[in-house]
């Protein structure tokens, strides 16, 4: 029967090519607009480390008190040096790392080459296993290197390419800010989007690459200053980078791995206990107001998905809805114009279900055609979306198998839904009345 309905549908569609083309175009535009904006939304709202995000937590400590809180009562979104160091020393999580953004210069050994400026982070050794950072050569440094403030460095494969021509450079030396560092590891391609370990400084998405990672305490000791945001509720009493470390200014990101809910509860209690002690000792003039969010909640709290991306998606979905209403109207006109044909079929004994099958097949074919055209338009849309949305975000949008499938599915299902009411009306056609009036 399906083959027969298919033939009927194709014949009917061929009879009014203008109307058919209009419906196919409508569906194609609606689907393409939604899928293009969705591909961007999907790219920016995706989980950067899905296998582990529920175990990664970002602690916030309210070291500024009521005057420094936002209107929503939130504590600062980064840590001051003292709190970060205390948390690292207490070491209450399974894995943890304080980190700050750096932007050191690297002087190539070849004196004829210009020095280059790279970006990266000063982190603790547990940063690498905690975030499952992939290595091409070597590995991260050890906990001993942390305490001994060893001159070791982990570099990106891109920097390795630039400095060592891509060969295994473990054990070789890199000059960072005028001092020699021993390469212990070379990263494999690692460019998580968003930069979930430090969204405050990266703003979420970044077109750059993290080129160097140095031991946190080493960077502090040699005075490699932070390159990211520094927020102060008061001017530090001492000058310089050391003054910053003694101040309540917040500039350090922090992440901890906690395996289950019990560990998270225990860690939160530890944070509150720490703040409570500071209140008792008179350092904090206020009750603990800490936060401990898992990674997805933290990304949401920091509004990592830009509101423009959401607004574009919503407007495009609105366009799709309007396209469907339009298609429903056109299908209604098309189906009811064939009332006499339906009358004849019904009079010859076709049940209502047969009418349903016939007309929904026709709607489905329009949906499929719209979907195929929509696929092409989505492809064009994803390629050219960098033209209208910020480049760092647009570059993340991809056409992949799941997007292709989704596009077709959305087109077919939506068009079939739009065809439901017109089909219902068609199935209600009274055979007697139709036959009589003709």
């Amino acid at each position: 029967m399906f083959a027969y309905y298919l033939e009927l549908a194709l014949r009917s569609l061929k009879r009014s090519p203008g109307l058919t083309a209009l419906m196919v175009l409508t569906i194609a535009f609606g689907v393409a607009a939604s899928m293009t904006t969705y591909s961007v939304f999907r790219a920016v709202s995706g989980d950067p480390i899905p296998w582990k995000s529920a175990k990664l937590f970002v602690p916030q400590i309210d070291n500024w008190g009521p005057n420094g809180r936002g209107s929503d009562g939130e504590p600062p979104n980064a840590m001051d040096y003292n709190d970060a160091i205390t948390l690292m020393r207490d070491h209450r999580a399974k894995l943890q790392s304080a980190m700050y953004q750096i932007s050191p210069s690297i002087v190539p050994a070849d004196a004829s080459k210009h020095p280059i400026n790279v970006s990266g982070h000063a982190v603790y050794s547990e940063f690498f296993p905690m975030l499952d950072v992939p290595f091409l050569y070597g590995s991260g440094w050890s906990a001993d290197d942390d305490t001994q403030r060893a001159a070791v460095v982990v570099i990106s494969s891109k920097l390795n390419q630039k400095l060592f021509g891509g060969s295994n450079s473990v054990g070789k030396t890199v000059n960072v800010e005028g001092k020699d560092y021993r390469v212990v590891g070379v990263l494999n391609d690692w460019n998580p989007q968003p930069r979930f370990f430090d969204v405050v400084n990266s703003g979420g998405f970044s077109t750059g690459v993290e080129d160097v990672f140095l031991p946190f305490q080493r960077a502090i000791t040699v005075g490699i200053p932070n390159d990211g945001n520094t927020n102060c509720n008061a001017v530090p009493t001492e000058s310089g980078f050391v003054g910053l470390q003694h101040s309540a200014c917040v500039w350090i990101a922090y992440m901890a791995e906690l395996d289950d809910a019990a560990a998270a509860t225990a860690y939160k209690q530890y944070l509150d206990g720490y703040a409570h002690d500071l209140q008792q000792s008179g350092h904090f003039g206020w009750a603990p107001n800490n936060r401990l969010r898992d990674l997805p909640a933290w990304l949401d709290n920091q509004h990592v998905v830009p509101s423009d991306t959401k607004v574009s998606l919503l407007v495009a979905l609105g366009l799709l809805l309007a396209c469907l209403v339009n298609t429903a109207g056109l299908l209604l006109a098309k189906f009811l114009r064939r009332s006499s044909e339906i009358g004849v079929r019904r009079a010859l004994g076709a049940p209502r279900m047969a009418i349903y099958a016939q007309f929904l097949t026709e709607a489905g074919i329009i949906g499929l055609a719209g979907g195929v055209l929509g696929l092409l338009l989505t492809g064009v849309g994803v390629v050219s979306v960098g033209w209208v949305l910020p480049k760092d975000i647009a570059a993340l949008a991809r056409v992949d198998f799941s997007l292709l499938t989704l596009t077709l599915l959305v087109a077919v299902i939506a068009t079939t839904l739009a065809g439901l009411y017109p089909t219902f009306r068609a199935s209600r056609v009274q055979p007697a009345w139709q036959l009589k009036s003709n």
Partner: protein, 411 residues
């Protein structure tokens, strides 16, 4: 107007089609109103002036390689400035921590007394020297420029606060609304007062985000060279018409003077046109995207109206023939369909207006968005009613040409 009753009767007969067209007009109106509003907001935002001589300006991001002391860096900066100012295509150059539209940077809360807990307002901090005003091309409205002997230096995170400061008119008016700012003190998170010695006209902030709009054009100039180890920005003003030449000469001259510096080959040198383009990239993009979606939506709605009305005309050929045979003129038939469309459009725009305002109010709560001004709804309503009339015209004209003979035909 006598025709309204039969039209209403006919609409009851075609209830589903009527509802669908009205619904589509409502959706279109709601989306287009909000999209137009977004477009207007973004265009207004990206055409805001910075107050500086954008056509002749460019910026060099100069980073230092290796570690040097603050006095060494300061000496190098002064040598660099002298080098740049000597170049034939360069009118002036000055050192700074930032420039307008950079996208964010240093800003300080400002109070009128040192004890004040709640800040009066916020100001974007620009460091510079006695040439900064000339380099930027901003207009000094009152008071005086910095003197060369007032210009100091600031190393990494040093707590240096200048005794004198130049502010923008916007900041002066916010701090001292009676217009008496000149000669008065301000505290920019500083323990000691800075006296306002000059007031300049427009000078945009470093950031133009939603947070910044509250403090738009509130900037202050500090007489200091940024001698931080990370580097600084050189703002360079080319002589009229010589921007390209200056942009070629300056990096060459700087690297020839001392090569222990890093000027990124890609982003290290930006003309102000590029700065502006980057700053408003997302705004321009949103405006274009909303424009495309609105255009597609309007086209689809128009096509839908044409399609459905054509169907109705086809369906009613016999009735039209009868009416014509009974003496209705072509004009009567034409105005029947136009009026019918106007009625359906009327229902659609009433629904659409409610929907447009509803969507906007919801967006205000969800996203940082302003309230929709009713002007857009009015424009949208008129546009959609006209669009409806225009789309219905072709099928209606075809209807009006139906011959009275059709009444006598059986099919």
């Amino acid at each position: 107007m006598m025709q309204i009753k039969p039209i209403l009767a006919a609409m009851r007969h075609h209830r589903a089609g009527t509802v669908l067209i009205a619904l589509q007009i409502a959706l279109t109106l709601a989306i287009v109103c909000n999209a137009l509003f977004i477009i207007q907001q973004r265009l207004a935002h990206l055409s805001e002036p910075t107050g500086i001589d954008e056509a002749s300006l460019f910026v060099i991001h100069n980073q230092w390689a290796g570690q040097s002391s603050t006095p060494q860096i300061d000496a190098q900066i002064q040598t660099d400035l002298a080098t740049m100012r000597q170049l034939p295509a360069v009118r002036d150059a000055s050192p700074s921590n930032s420039y307008p539209l950079r996208g964010g940077g240093w800003d300080n809360f400002i109070t009128l007394t040192p004890e004040q807990v709640q800040p009066t307002t916020d100001g974007s901090v620009y460091l510079g020297d006695e040439q900064t005003i000339d380099t930027l091309g901003v207009k000094l409205l009152a008071g005086r420029n910095f003197r060369a002997d007032e210009v100091g230096r600031i190393g990494l995170r040093e707590d240096v606060f200048p005794p004198v400061v130049i502010v923008t008119r916007a900041l002066a008016d916010r701090l001292y609304p009676d217009g008496s700012a000149l000669g008065k003190p301000l505290y920019a998170m500083s323990p000691t007062p800075s006296t306002i010695i000059g007031i300049v006209d427009l000078l945009q902030r470093q950031g133009v985000s939603t947070w910044d709009t509250t403090y738009a054009y509130q900037s202050l100039l500090w007489p200091m060279r940024v001698a931080e180890p990370q580097g600084l920005y050189y703002i360079v003003r080319a002589k009229p018409g010589q921007l390209a030449a200056a942009m070629r000469e300056v990096p060459k001259a700087l690297n020839a003077q001392n090569r222990m510096r890093i000027i990124d080959p890609k982003d290290g040198e930006l003309s102000f046109a590029q700065v502006r383009e980057r700053a408003y990239d997302s705004d321009r993009g949103m405006a274009i995207l909303m424009g495309i979606i609105s255009a597609v939506l309007l086209a689809i709605t128009a096509a839908g109206i044409v399609g459905l009305t054509s169907f109705w005309v086809g369906q009613r050929r016999k009735q039209i023939g009868i009416r014509r045979a009974l003496g209705a003129t072509r004009h009567d038939i034409l105005s029947y369909f136009l009026t019918e469309n106007l009625l359906i459009g009327g229902i659609g725009v009433v629904l659409g207006t409610l929907l447009a305002i509803g969507i906007n109010l919801w967006m205000v709560t969800q996203f940082e968005m302003a309230r929709l001004s009713l002007g857009y709804v009015v424009i949208g309503v008129i546009a959609l009613l006209l669009l409806g009339q225009a789309s219905v015209l072709t099928p209606a004209l075809r209807a009006s040409r139906v011959s009275p003979v059709e009444a006598t035909r059986s099919v």
